[in-house]
Protein backbone atom coordinates (compact mmCIF):
# COMPACT_ATOMS: atom_id res chain seq x y z
CA UNK A 1 0.00 0.00 0.00
CA UNK A 2 1.24 3.45 -0.88
CA UNK A 3 1.06 5.77 2.09
CA UNK A 4 1.68 8.97 0.22
CA UNK A 5 2.96 9.52 -3.29
CA UNK A 6 3.16 12.41 -5.69
CA UNK A 7 3.33 11.29 -9.32
CA UNK A 8 4.39 13.59 -12.16
CA UNK A 9 2.79 16.56 -10.48
CA UNK A 10 2.76 19.72 -12.62
CA UNK A 11 1.44 23.17 -11.93
CA UNK A 12 1.62 26.04 -14.37
CA UNK A 13 0.64 29.65 -13.80
CA UNK A 14 0.18 31.10 -17.27
CA UNK A 15 3.51 30.32 -18.96
CA UNK A 16 5.39 29.71 -15.73
CA UNK A 17 6.02 26.12 -14.77
CA UNK A 18 5.99 26.29 -10.98
CA UNK A 19 6.13 22.51 -10.72
CA UNK A 20 7.36 20.31 -13.54
CA UNK A 21 6.72 16.58 -13.23
CA UNK A 22 7.60 16.21 -9.58
CA UNK A 23 7.43 12.65 -8.24
CA UNK A 24 8.27 11.22 -4.85
CA UNK A 25 6.96 8.78 -2.32
CA UNK A 26 6.84 8.97 1.45
CA UNK A 27 6.67 5.91 3.66
CA UNK A 28 4.68 5.96 6.87
CA UNK A 29 6.54 7.38 9.84
CA UNK A 30 9.39 9.19 8.12
CA UNK A 31 10.39 12.83 8.05
CA UNK A 32 10.69 13.91 4.46
CA UNK A 33 12.11 17.34 3.67
CA UNK A 34 11.71 19.45 0.55
CA UNK A 35 14.41 22.05 0.05
CA UNK A 36 15.41 24.39 -2.72
CA UNK A 37 16.25 28.04 -3.42
CA UNK A 38 13.56 30.72 -3.22
CA UNK A 39 10.93 30.32 -5.92
CA UNK A 40 11.73 26.64 -6.44
CA UNK A 41 8.06 25.70 -6.04
CA UNK A 42 8.10 24.25 -2.54
CA UNK A 43 5.08 26.09 -1.19
CA UNK A 44 3.26 25.55 -4.49
CA UNK A 45 3.80 21.83 -3.95
CA UNK A 46 2.15 22.12 -0.53
CA UNK A 47 -0.72 24.14 -1.93
CA UNK A 48 -1.33 21.48 -4.58
CA UNK A 49 -1.30 18.67 -2.05
CA UNK A 50 -3.70 20.65 0.14
CA UNK A 51 -6.12 21.43 -2.67
CA UNK A 52 -5.66 25.19 -2.49
CA UNK A 53 -4.46 25.06 -6.13
CA UNK A 54 -5.84 22.49 -8.54
CA UNK A 55 -2.73 20.92 -10.15
CA UNK A 56 -2.54 21.05 -13.94
CA UNK A 57 -1.19 17.52 -14.21
CA UNK A 58 -0.19 14.42 -12.31
CA UNK A 59 -1.61 12.60 -9.33
CA UNK A 60 -1.44 12.78 -5.57
CA UNK A 61 -2.07 9.48 -3.84
CA UNK A 62 -2.79 9.25 -0.13
CA UNK A 63 -3.47 5.84 1.40
CA UNK A 64 -4.29 4.41 -2.03
CA UNK A 65 -6.82 7.17 -2.83
CA UNK A 66 -6.20 9.83 -5.42
CA UNK A 67 -6.72 13.12 -3.62
CA UNK A 68 -5.72 15.35 -6.50
CA UNK A 69 -8.22 18.16 -7.07
CA UNK A 70 -10.13 17.62 -3.84
CA UNK A 71 -11.23 20.72 -1.93
CA UNK A 72 -8.99 21.63 1.04
CA UNK A 73 -11.61 20.58 3.58
CA UNK A 74 -11.83 17.13 2.00
CA UNK A 75 -8.06 16.79 2.03
CA UNK A 76 -8.12 17.68 5.72
CA UNK A 77 -10.77 15.05 6.28
CA UNK A 78 -8.59 12.47 4.56
CA UNK A 79 -5.97 13.08 7.28
CA UNK A 80 -3.57 15.76 6.07
CA UNK A 81 -2.96 18.90 8.14
CA UNK A 82 -0.55 21.75 7.57
CA UNK A 83 1.03 24.92 8.87
CA UNK A 84 1.76 28.00 6.80
CA UNK A 85 4.91 29.90 5.96
CA UNK A 86 3.27 33.23 6.70
CA UNK A 87 1.23 32.55 9.79
CA UNK A 88 -2.45 32.04 9.07
CA UNK A 89 -4.00 32.11 12.52
CA UNK A 90 -7.44 33.36 13.46
CA UNK A 91 -6.18 36.54 15.05
CA UNK A 92 -9.36 37.49 16.91
CA UNK A 93 -9.64 34.17 18.70
CA UNK A 94 -7.64 33.11 21.70
CA UNK A 95 -5.13 30.25 21.67
CA UNK A 96 -7.66 27.72 22.93
CA UNK A 97 -10.22 28.57 20.27
CA UNK A 98 -7.60 28.56 17.53
CA UNK A 99 -6.58 25.04 18.40
CA UNK A 100 -10.24 24.08 18.81
CA UNK A 101 -10.65 24.75 15.08
CA UNK A 102 -8.29 21.83 14.64
CA UNK A 103 -10.94 19.69 16.34
CA UNK A 104 -13.57 20.85 13.84
CA UNK A 105 -13.64 17.56 11.98
CA UNK A 106 -14.18 15.55 15.15
CA UNK A 107 -17.15 17.54 16.38
CA UNK A 108 -20.73 16.80 15.44
CA UNK A 109 -22.56 19.73 17.00
CA UNK A 110 -24.62 21.40 14.31
CA UNK A 111 -26.65 24.57 14.25
CA UNK A 112 -29.55 23.19 16.27
CA UNK A 113 -27.69 21.22 18.91
CA UNK A 114 -25.16 24.04 19.25
CA UNK A 115 -27.77 26.75 19.52
CA UNK A 116 -29.76 24.79 22.10
CA UNK A 117 -26.72 23.96 24.24
CA UNK A 118 -27.87 24.05 27.83
CA UNK A 119 -25.69 22.81 30.64
CA UNK A 120 -22.74 20.47 30.68
CA UNK A 121 -24.89 17.42 30.09
CA UNK A 122 -26.29 18.60 26.77
CA UNK A 123 -24.78 17.11 23.64
CA UNK A 124 -22.93 20.28 22.67
CA UNK A 125 -21.75 20.86 26.24
CA UNK A 126 -20.33 17.37 26.53
CA UNK A 127 -18.63 17.65 23.17
CA UNK A 128 -17.07 21.01 24.07
CA UNK A 129 -15.69 19.65 27.33
CA UNK A 130 -14.29 16.53 25.73
CA UNK A 131 -12.57 18.39 22.89
CA UNK A 132 -11.26 21.16 25.13
CA UNK A 133 -9.63 18.47 27.23
CA UNK A 134 -7.88 17.16 24.12
CA UNK A 135 -6.76 20.66 23.19
CA UNK A 136 -5.42 21.17 26.69
CA UNK A 137 -3.10 18.20 26.17
CA UNK A 138 -1.70 19.86 23.07
CA UNK A 139 -1.32 23.14 24.95
CA UNK A 140 0.62 21.25 27.62
CA UNK A 141 2.77 19.48 25.05
CA UNK A 142 3.77 22.73 23.35
CA UNK A 143 4.04 24.63 26.64
CA UNK A 144 1.48 27.24 25.68
CA UNK A 145 -0.34 27.41 29.05
CA UNK A 146 0.54 31.07 29.60
CA UNK A 147 -1.13 32.06 26.36
CA UNK A 148 -4.21 29.87 26.72
CA UNK A 149 -6.76 32.67 26.90
CA UNK A 150 -4.85 35.41 25.06
CA UNK A 151 -5.85 36.65 21.64
CA UNK A 152 -3.25 35.32 19.24
CA UNK A 153 -3.02 38.49 17.13
CA UNK A 154 -0.72 40.20 19.60
CA UNK A 155 1.49 37.26 20.56
CA UNK A 156 5.19 36.96 19.58
CA UNK A 157 6.02 35.39 16.25
CA UNK A 158 7.57 32.22 17.67
CA UNK A 159 4.53 31.59 19.87
CA UNK A 160 2.19 32.07 16.92
CA UNK A 161 4.18 29.48 14.96
CA UNK A 162 3.75 27.07 17.86
CA UNK A 163 0.02 27.70 18.04
CA UNK A 164 -0.23 26.93 14.35
CA UNK A 165 1.60 23.68 14.94
CA UNK A 166 -0.78 22.92 17.79
CA UNK A 167 -3.79 23.61 15.60
CA UNK A 168 -2.50 21.18 12.98
CA UNK A 169 -1.80 18.54 15.65
CA UNK A 170 -5.30 18.91 17.07
CA UNK A 171 -6.63 17.59 13.78
CA UNK A 172 -4.83 14.29 14.55
CA UNK A 173 -3.42 14.04 11.04
CA UNK A 174 -1.59 11.07 9.61
CA UNK A 175 0.49 13.35 7.40
CA UNK A 176 1.61 16.75 8.62
CA UNK A 177 2.87 19.39 6.22
CA UNK A 178 5.16 21.93 7.87
CA UNK A 179 5.98 25.00 5.80
CA UNK A 180 9.15 26.54 7.29
CA UNK A 181 8.40 25.84 10.95
CA UNK A 182 11.61 27.61 12.01
CA UNK A 183 11.41 30.73 9.87
CA UNK A 184 12.27 33.82 11.86
CA UNK A 185 13.26 31.98 15.02
CA UNK A 186 16.43 32.27 17.06
CA UNK A 187 18.78 29.33 17.65
CA UNK A 188 17.18 28.35 20.93
CA UNK A 189 13.64 28.35 19.55
CA UNK A 190 14.86 26.34 16.59
CA UNK A 191 16.24 23.70 18.94
CA UNK A 192 12.83 23.46 20.62
CA UNK A 193 11.08 23.02 17.30
CA UNK A 194 13.52 20.25 16.33
CA UNK A 195 12.68 18.40 19.54
CA UNK A 196 8.96 18.79 18.99
CA UNK A 197 9.16 17.58 15.43
CA UNK A 198 11.05 14.50 16.59
CA UNK A 199 8.50 13.98 19.36
CA UNK A 200 5.66 14.25 16.91
CA UNK A 201 7.30 11.60 14.76
CA UNK A 202 8.24 9.25 17.58
CA UNK A 203 5.40 9.55 20.05
CA UNK A 204 2.43 10.47 17.92
CA UNK A 205 3.57 8.45 14.93
CA UNK A 206 2.76 11.22 12.49
CA UNK A 207 4.53 11.30 9.14
CA UNK A 208 6.01 14.70 8.37
CA UNK A 209 6.59 16.50 5.11
CA UNK A 210 8.74 19.53 5.79
CA UNK A 211 9.93 22.63 3.98
CA UNK A 212 12.85 24.37 5.61
CA UNK A 213 15.71 26.67 4.71
CA UNK A 214 17.87 25.97 7.74
CA UNK A 215 20.29 23.35 6.38
CA UNK A 216 21.62 22.26 9.75
CA UNK A 217 18.15 21.45 10.91
CA UNK A 218 17.15 19.71 7.69
CA UNK A 219 20.26 17.53 7.70
CA UNK A 220 19.72 16.80 11.38
CA UNK A 221 16.13 15.57 11.39
CA UNK A 222 15.15 14.43 7.91
CA UNK A 223 15.17 10.81 6.87
CA UNK A 224 15.14 11.76 3.20
CA UNK A 225 15.37 14.97 1.24
CA UNK A 226 13.98 16.16 -2.10
CA UNK A 227 15.68 19.14 -3.76
CA UNK A 228 13.67 21.32 -6.12
CA UNK A 229 15.00 23.99 -8.44
CA UNK A 230 12.76 26.02 -10.76
CA UNK A 231 9.97 23.49 -10.22
CA UNK A 232 12.09 20.48 -11.23
CA UNK A 233 13.33 17.81 -8.86
CA UNK A 234 17.11 17.73 -9.11
CA UNK A 235 18.04 15.30 -6.36
CA UNK A 236 16.48 12.97 -3.85
CA UNK A 237 17.99 10.76 -1.16
CA UNK A 238 19.30 10.58 2.39
CA UNK A 239 20.91 13.80 3.76
CA UNK A 240 24.50 12.64 3.21
CA UNK A 241 23.89 11.90 -0.46
CA UNK A 242 22.02 15.08 -1.14
CA UNK A 243 24.52 17.39 0.56
CA UNK A 244 27.30 16.35 -1.84
CA UNK A 245 25.16 16.03 -4.97
CA UNK A 246 26.75 18.20 -7.72
CA UNK A 247 23.39 19.52 -9.03
CA UNK A 248 22.45 20.61 -5.52
CA UNK A 249 25.71 22.45 -5.00
CA UNK A 250 25.21 24.13 -8.34
CA UNK A 251 21.71 25.25 -7.47
CA UNK A 252 22.75 26.61 -4.11
CA UNK A 253 26.21 27.99 -4.81
CA UNK A 254 26.00 28.94 -8.47
CA UNK A 255 27.55 27.38 -11.54
CA UNK A 256 30.70 29.31 -12.19
CA UNK A 257 32.25 29.30 -8.76
CA UNK A 258 31.80 25.56 -8.37
CA UNK A 259 34.37 24.53 -10.94
CA UNK A 260 36.30 27.71 -11.63
CA UNK A 261 39.66 27.14 -9.97
CA UNK A 262 40.88 30.68 -10.60
CA UNK A 263 37.97 32.15 -8.67
CA UNK A 264 38.55 34.11 -5.45
Amino acid sequence: MTFFAVEDLSMTFGGLKALDKVSFEITRGEIFAVIGPNGAGKTTLFNCINGIYPPTGGDIVFKNNNIRGLKPDRVAKAGIARTFQNIELFSNMNTMENIMIGRHLFMKTGLLRGGLMWGRRSFAGKEEIENRRKVEQIIDLLELQTFRSKFVGGLPYGIQKKIELGRALAAEPELLLLDEPCAGMNAEEKQDVVFWIKDIQDELGITILLIEHDMNMVMDISNRILVLNFGRPIAMGVPDEVSVHPEVLKAYLGEDDADDASGP
Binding site: A76, I101, A168
Partner: protein
Protein backbone atom coordinates in the same frame (compact mmCIF):
# COMPACT_ATOMS: atom_id res chain seq x y z
CA UNK B 1 -9.26 36.50 37.54
CA UNK B 2 -10.33 33.41 39.33
CA UNK B 3 -9.05 29.96 38.54
CA UNK B 4 -10.84 27.79 36.06
CA UNK B 5 -11.52 24.31 37.30
CA UNK B 6 -13.50 22.88 34.47
CA UNK B 7 -13.59 23.18 30.68
CA UNK B 8 -17.30 23.86 30.72
CA UNK B 9 -16.55 27.22 32.32
CA UNK B 10 -15.22 28.40 28.97
CA UNK B 11 -18.63 28.10 27.38
CA UNK B 12 -21.15 28.33 30.17
CA UNK B 13 -23.86 30.93 30.11
CA UNK B 14 -23.15 32.83 33.30
CA UNK B 15 -19.50 33.01 34.22
CA UNK B 16 -20.28 34.03 37.80
CA UNK B 17 -23.05 34.41 40.33
CA UNK B 18 -22.98 38.16 39.76
CA UNK B 19 -23.79 37.67 36.09
CA UNK B 20 -26.63 35.35 36.97
CA UNK B 21 -27.97 37.91 39.42
CA UNK B 22 -28.01 40.68 36.83
CA UNK B 23 -29.59 38.40 34.30
CA UNK B 24 -32.35 37.49 36.75
CA UNK B 25 -32.82 41.17 37.54
CA UNK B 26 -33.14 41.93 33.84
CA UNK B 27 -35.70 39.17 33.36
CA UNK B 28 -37.79 40.46 36.28
CA UNK B 29 -37.58 43.96 34.87
CA UNK B 30 -38.74 42.70 31.47
CA UNK B 31 -41.63 40.83 33.12
CA UNK B 32 -42.78 43.90 35.01
CA UNK B 33 -42.09 46.35 32.19
CA UNK B 34 -45.66 46.57 30.81
CA UNK B 35 -46.94 47.44 34.27
CA UNK B 36 -44.36 50.14 34.84
CA UNK B 37 -44.63 52.11 31.64
CA UNK B 38 -47.44 53.61 29.62
CA UNK B 39 -48.75 52.10 26.44
CA UNK B 40 -46.55 53.96 24.02
CA UNK B 41 -43.40 52.69 25.68
CA UNK B 42 -44.65 49.13 25.51
CA UNK B 43 -44.94 49.67 21.77
CA UNK B 44 -41.38 51.06 21.79
CA UNK B 45 -40.18 47.97 23.63
CA UNK B 46 -41.79 45.70 21.02
CA UNK B 47 -40.15 47.67 18.26
CA UNK B 48 -36.77 47.45 20.00
CA UNK B 49 -37.11 43.70 20.62
CA UNK B 50 -37.82 43.12 16.94
CA UNK B 51 -34.79 45.15 15.93
CA UNK B 52 -32.69 43.21 18.44
CA UNK B 53 -33.68 39.96 16.73
CA UNK B 54 -32.71 41.28 13.30
CA UNK B 55 -29.46 42.84 14.43
CA UNK B 56 -28.30 39.82 16.45
CA UNK B 57 -28.95 37.69 13.36
CA UNK B 58 -27.28 40.21 11.06
CA UNK B 59 -24.29 40.28 13.36
CA UNK B 60 -23.85 36.52 13.03
CA UNK B 61 -23.33 37.18 9.34
CA UNK B 62 -21.49 40.51 9.31
CA UNK B 63 -19.68 40.44 12.64
CA UNK B 64 -18.84 36.77 12.97
CA UNK B 65 -18.60 35.46 9.41
CA UNK B 66 -17.34 38.72 7.93
CA UNK B 67 -19.81 38.84 5.05
CA UNK B 68 -21.55 42.16 4.53
CA UNK B 69 -25.26 42.40 3.79
CA UNK B 70 -27.16 45.46 2.64
CA UNK B 71 -30.25 43.40 1.84
CA UNK B 72 -31.67 42.44 5.20
CA UNK B 73 -34.77 44.54 4.71
CA UNK B 74 -35.57 42.02 1.96
CA UNK B 75 -35.52 39.09 4.38
CA UNK B 76 -37.47 41.18 6.87
CA UNK B 77 -40.11 41.80 4.19
CA UNK B 78 -40.23 38.12 3.25
CA UNK B 79 -40.85 37.25 6.89
CA UNK B 80 -43.59 39.85 7.30
CA UNK B 81 -45.41 39.03 4.06
CA UNK B 82 -44.82 35.31 4.50
CA UNK B 83 -46.35 35.19 7.96
CA UNK B 84 -49.43 37.21 7.05
CA UNK B 85 -50.13 35.48 3.77
CA UNK B 86 -49.62 32.00 5.24
CA UNK B 87 -52.18 32.90 7.89
CA UNK B 88 -54.74 34.53 5.61
CA UNK B 89 -54.30 32.48 2.43
CA UNK B 90 -53.34 29.08 3.82
CA UNK B 91 -55.05 29.32 7.23
CA UNK B 92 -51.88 28.52 9.15
CA UNK B 93 -51.93 29.20 12.88
CA UNK B 94 -49.55 31.93 14.01
CA UNK B 95 -46.53 29.94 15.19
CA UNK B 96 -46.26 27.56 12.22
CA UNK B 97 -46.72 30.55 9.92
CA UNK B 98 -43.99 32.50 11.68
CA UNK B 99 -41.54 29.60 11.57
CA UNK B 100 -42.36 28.78 7.94
CA UNK B 101 -41.88 32.42 6.98
CA UNK B 102 -38.54 32.38 8.76
CA UNK B 103 -37.58 29.24 6.86
CA UNK B 104 -38.64 30.79 3.55
CA UNK B 105 -36.42 33.76 4.35
CA UNK B 106 -33.64 31.29 5.21
CA UNK B 107 -34.04 29.66 1.77
CA UNK B 108 -33.62 33.05 0.15
CA UNK B 109 -30.64 33.62 2.41
CA UNK B 110 -29.12 30.37 1.22
CA UNK B 111 -29.64 31.43 -2.41
CA UNK B 112 -28.05 34.81 -1.75
CA UNK B 113 -25.18 33.00 -0.04
CA UNK B 114 -24.28 31.20 -3.27
CA UNK B 115 -23.01 34.26 -5.18
CA UNK B 116 -21.40 35.37 -1.92
CA UNK B 117 -19.01 32.42 -2.24
CA UNK B 118 -17.28 34.30 -5.03
CA UNK B 119 -17.84 37.90 -3.97
CA UNK B 120 -16.15 39.93 -1.30
CA UNK B 121 -16.35 43.36 0.26
CA UNK B 122 -17.94 46.05 -1.90
CA UNK B 123 -19.03 43.57 -4.59
CA UNK B 124 -20.95 41.53 -2.04
CA UNK B 125 -22.47 44.74 -0.68
CA UNK B 126 -23.78 45.62 -4.16
CA UNK B 127 -25.15 42.10 -4.74
CA UNK B 128 -27.03 42.05 -1.43
CA UNK B 129 -28.22 45.61 -2.00
CA UNK B 130 -29.67 44.50 -5.33
CA UNK B 131 -31.41 41.61 -3.62
CA UNK B 132 -33.05 43.88 -1.03
CA UNK B 133 -34.32 46.32 -3.65
CA UNK B 134 -35.58 43.55 -5.93
CA UNK B 135 -37.60 41.80 -3.24
CA UNK B 136 -39.61 44.87 -2.30
CA UNK B 137 -40.19 45.76 -5.95
CA UNK B 138 -41.44 42.25 -6.71
CA UNK B 139 -43.70 42.18 -3.66
CA UNK B 140 -45.14 45.54 -4.74
CA UNK B 141 -46.26 43.96 -8.00
CA UNK B 142 -47.91 40.83 -6.65
CA UNK B 143 -51.61 41.54 -6.23
CA UNK B 144 -52.27 38.64 -3.92
CA UNK B 145 -49.81 40.21 -1.48
CA UNK B 146 -51.66 43.52 -1.62
CA UNK B 147 -49.36 45.14 -4.17
CA UNK B 148 -48.68 48.78 -3.45
CA UNK B 149 -51.80 48.96 -1.29
CA UNK B 150 -50.27 46.85 1.46
CA UNK B 151 -51.70 44.11 3.67
CA UNK B 152 -53.59 44.13 6.93
CA UNK B 153 -52.55 41.66 9.60
CA UNK B 154 -55.27 39.19 10.64
CA UNK B 155 -56.40 38.78 14.23
CA UNK B 156 -53.78 37.11 16.32
CA UNK B 157 -55.17 34.22 18.34
CA UNK B 158 -52.83 32.04 20.37
CA UNK B 159 -54.40 29.13 22.23
CA UNK B 160 -57.75 30.86 22.33
CA UNK B 161 -56.36 34.20 23.52
CA UNK B 162 -56.68 37.25 21.34
CA UNK B 163 -53.55 39.33 21.31
CA UNK B 164 -54.74 42.69 20.16
CA UNK B 165 -52.87 45.28 22.15
CA UNK B 166 -49.19 46.04 22.37
CA UNK B 167 -49.26 44.98 26.00
CA UNK B 168 -50.58 41.53 25.12
CA UNK B 169 -48.15 41.17 22.26
CA UNK B 170 -45.21 42.29 24.41
CA UNK B 171 -44.59 38.98 26.19
CA UNK B 172 -44.64 37.02 22.95
CA UNK B 173 -42.09 39.31 21.25
CA UNK B 174 -39.85 39.46 24.31
CA UNK B 175 -39.86 35.69 24.83
CA UNK B 176 -38.90 35.08 21.20
CA UNK B 177 -36.21 37.77 21.36
CA UNK B 178 -34.64 36.33 24.52
CA UNK B 179 -34.73 32.82 23.06
CA UNK B 180 -33.14 33.85 19.79
CA UNK B 181 -30.43 35.87 21.53
CA UNK B 182 -29.54 32.82 23.63
CA UNK B 183 -29.55 30.66 20.53
CA UNK B 184 -27.15 33.04 18.77
CA UNK B 185 -24.91 33.25 21.81
CA UNK B 186 -24.70 29.47 22.03
CA UNK B 187 -23.87 29.18 18.37
CA UNK B 188 -20.96 31.58 18.74
CA UNK B 189 -19.56 29.43 21.56
CA UNK B 190 -19.76 26.11 19.74
CA UNK B 191 -18.48 24.49 16.57
CA UNK B 192 -20.52 26.43 14.02
CA UNK B 193 -19.70 29.83 15.49
CA UNK B 194 -15.99 29.02 15.62
CA UNK B 195 -16.11 28.01 11.98
CA UNK B 196 -17.79 31.37 11.17
CA UNK B 197 -15.04 33.34 12.89
CA UNK B 198 -12.37 31.15 11.30
CA UNK B 199 -13.77 32.01 7.87
CA UNK B 200 -13.73 35.70 8.74
CA UNK B 201 -10.15 35.74 10.07
CA UNK B 202 -8.34 33.42 7.63
CA UNK B 203 -10.51 31.51 5.21
CA UNK B 204 -7.68 29.50 3.63
CA UNK B 205 -6.48 28.23 6.99
CA UNK B 206 -10.07 27.46 7.96
CA UNK B 207 -10.48 25.38 4.83
CA UNK B 208 -7.28 23.43 5.37
CA UNK B 209 -8.46 22.60 8.89
CA UNK B 210 -11.59 21.02 7.45
CA UNK B 211 -14.13 23.86 7.47
CA UNK B 212 -16.36 23.52 4.43
CA UNK B 213 -16.54 27.08 3.06
CA UNK B 214 -19.58 26.49 0.88
CA UNK B 215 -21.55 24.94 3.71
CA UNK B 216 -20.68 27.47 6.40
CA UNK B 217 -20.95 30.63 4.31
CA UNK B 218 -24.39 29.70 3.01
CA UNK B 219 -25.34 28.57 6.51
CA UNK B 220 -24.42 31.99 7.89
CA UNK B 221 -26.57 33.68 5.27
CA UNK B 222 -29.51 31.34 5.85
CA UNK B 223 -29.30 31.65 9.64
CA UNK B 224 -29.08 35.40 9.49
CA UNK B 225 -32.01 35.52 7.06
CA UNK B 226 -34.04 33.28 9.39
CA UNK B 227 -33.59 35.78 12.22
CA UNK B 228 -34.63 38.65 9.95
CA UNK B 229 -37.62 36.62 8.69
CA UNK B 230 -38.92 35.81 12.17
CA UNK B 231 -38.46 39.43 13.20
CA UNK B 232 -40.35 40.52 10.08
CA UNK B 233 -43.25 38.23 10.97
CA UNK B 234 -43.48 39.80 14.42
CA UNK B 235 -43.11 43.28 12.98
CA UNK B 236 -46.18 42.75 10.82
CA UNK B 237 -48.25 42.28 13.98
CA UNK B 238 -46.76 45.23 15.79
CA UNK B 239 -47.66 47.56 12.94
CA UNK B 240 -50.81 45.57 11.95
CA UNK B 241 -50.39 46.92 8.44
CA UNK B 242 -47.49 46.43 6.04
CA UNK B 243 -46.64 47.85 2.62
CA UNK B 244 -43.57 47.50 0.41
CA UNK B 245 -42.44 51.06 1.14
CA UNK B 246 -41.64 50.08 4.71
CA UNK B 247 -38.87 47.72 3.64
CA UNK B 248 -36.78 50.09 1.59
CA UNK B 249 -33.04 50.43 1.27
CA UNK B 250 -32.80 52.66 4.29
CA UNK B 251 -34.10 49.91 6.56
CA UNK B 252 -31.19 47.65 5.52
CA UNK B 253 -28.75 50.44 6.26
CA UNK B 254 -30.50 51.06 9.57
CA UNK B 255 -30.01 47.41 10.58
CA UNK B 256 -26.36 47.53 9.63
CA UNK B 257 -25.89 50.81 11.49
CA UNK B 258 -27.32 49.28 14.66
CA UNK B 259 -24.92 46.33 14.41
CA UNK B 260 -21.88 48.52 13.79
CA UNK B 261 -22.81 51.10 16.42
CA UNK B 262 -23.24 48.34 18.99
CA UNK B 263 -20.03 46.51 18.16
CA UNK B 264 -19.58 43.84 15.50
CA UNK B 265 -18.61 40.35 16.53
CA UNK B 266 -20.14 40.48 19.99
CA UNK B 267 -23.53 39.48 21.35
CA UNK B 268 -24.12 42.32 23.80
CA UNK B 269 -23.00 45.02 21.37
CA UNK B 270 -25.73 44.67 18.76
CA UNK B 271 -28.34 44.51 21.52
CA UNK B 272 -27.12 47.81 22.91
CA UNK B 273 -26.94 49.26 19.41
CA UNK B 274 -30.47 48.15 18.62
CA UNK B 275 -31.83 49.62 21.85
CA UNK B 276 -30.11 52.98 21.40
CA UNK B 277 -30.82 53.48 17.72
CA UNK B 278 -34.39 52.15 17.72
CA UNK B 279 -35.20 54.43 20.61
CA UNK B 280 -33.62 57.42 18.87
CA UNK B 281 -35.42 56.52 15.67
CA UNK B 282 -38.84 56.65 17.32
CA UNK B 283 -38.12 59.66 19.51
CA UNK B 284 -36.62 61.77 16.76
CA UNK B 285 -39.62 61.18 14.54
CA UNK B 286 -41.65 63.35 16.89
CA UNK B 287 -39.09 66.01 16.52
CA UNK B 288 -41.32 68.75 17.95
CA UNK B 289 -41.52 66.93 21.27
CA UNK B 290 -37.82 67.35 21.89
CA UNK B 291 -37.46 69.98 24.60
CA UNK B 292 -35.98 73.40 23.72
CA UNK B 293 -34.40 72.55 20.36
CA UNK B 294 -37.31 70.71 18.73
CA UNK B 295 -38.69 73.67 16.77
CA UNK B 296 -35.28 74.74 15.71
CA UNK B 297 -34.24 71.24 14.57
CA UNK B 298 -37.40 70.91 12.52
CA UNK B 299 -36.74 74.23 10.80
CA UNK B 300 -33.15 73.24 10.19
CA UNK B 301 -34.15 69.91 8.75
CA UNK B 302 -36.84 71.23 6.42
CA UNK B 303 -34.79 74.12 5.14
CA UNK B 304 -31.45 72.40 4.61
CA UNK B 305 -31.65 68.63 4.67
CA UNK B 306 -34.87 67.51 3.05
CA UNK B 307 -36.41 68.52 -0.23
CA UNK B 308 -39.89 67.40 0.66
CA UNK B 309 -40.00 69.24 3.93
CA UNK B 310 -40.46 66.03 5.86
CA UNK B 311 -38.34 66.13 8.97
CA UNK B 312 -35.57 63.59 8.66
CA UNK B 313 -33.42 64.54 11.56
CA UNK B 314 -33.06 60.92 12.76
CA UNK B 315 -31.14 60.00 9.61
CA UNK B 316 -28.75 62.86 10.20
CA UNK B 317 -28.23 61.77 13.80
CA UNK B 318 -27.57 58.17 12.69
CA UNK B 319 -25.02 59.38 10.18
CA UNK B 320 -23.31 61.44 12.87
CA UNK B 321 -23.29 58.47 15.27
CA UNK B 322 -21.82 56.20 12.64
CA UNK B 323 -19.05 58.67 11.81
CA UNK B 324 -18.28 59.18 15.49
CA UNK B 325 -18.12 55.41 16.07
CA UNK B 326 -15.76 54.92 13.15
CA UNK B 327 -13.52 57.71 14.36
CA UNK B 328 -13.40 57.13 18.08
CA UNK B 329 -14.48 53.60 18.93
CA UNK B 330 -14.47 51.06 16.07
CA UNK B 331 -15.77 48.42 18.46
CA UNK B 332 -18.89 50.48 19.07
CA UNK B 333 -20.81 50.64 22.32
CA UNK B 334 -19.31 47.32 23.36
CA UNK B 335 -15.81 48.74 23.00
CA UNK B 336 -16.85 51.73 25.08
CA UNK B 337 -18.13 49.40 27.80
CA UNK B 338 -14.89 47.40 27.82
CA UNK B 339 -12.88 50.58 28.12
CA UNK B 340 -15.03 51.83 31.00
CA UNK B 341 -14.75 48.50 32.76
CA UNK B 342 -10.98 48.52 32.43
CA UNK B 343 -10.82 52.08 33.71
CA UNK B 344 -12.79 51.29 36.86
CA UNK B 345 -11.11 47.98 37.53
CA UNK B 346 -7.69 49.54 37.47
CA UNK B 347 -8.75 52.79 39.15
CA UNK B 348 -6.99 54.91 40.39
CA UNK B 349 -4.11 54.04 38.07
Amino acid sequence: MDMKRDYYEDVKHFSSGVMLFWFAALMIFLLLYPFLFKNYYVYVANYIAINIIVVVGLNLLVGYTGQISLGHAGFFAIGAYGTISLMTLANFPFFPALICAGLIAACFGFLLGLPALRLEGPYLAIATLGFGLTITTIIGRIDILGGRQGLHAPDLIIMGHHLNTDRQFYYLVMAIAVLLVFFARNITKTKVGRAFVAIRDAHIAAETMGVNLVLYKTMAFALSAFYAGVAGGLFAFVLRFIEPELFGFFLSVFFLTMAVAGGLGTIAGPIAGAILLSFLDLELRNILNIPYVGEWLKALSTSYFSLTGVSNIQFIVFGAILIAIMLFEPLGLYGLWIRMKKYWMTWPF
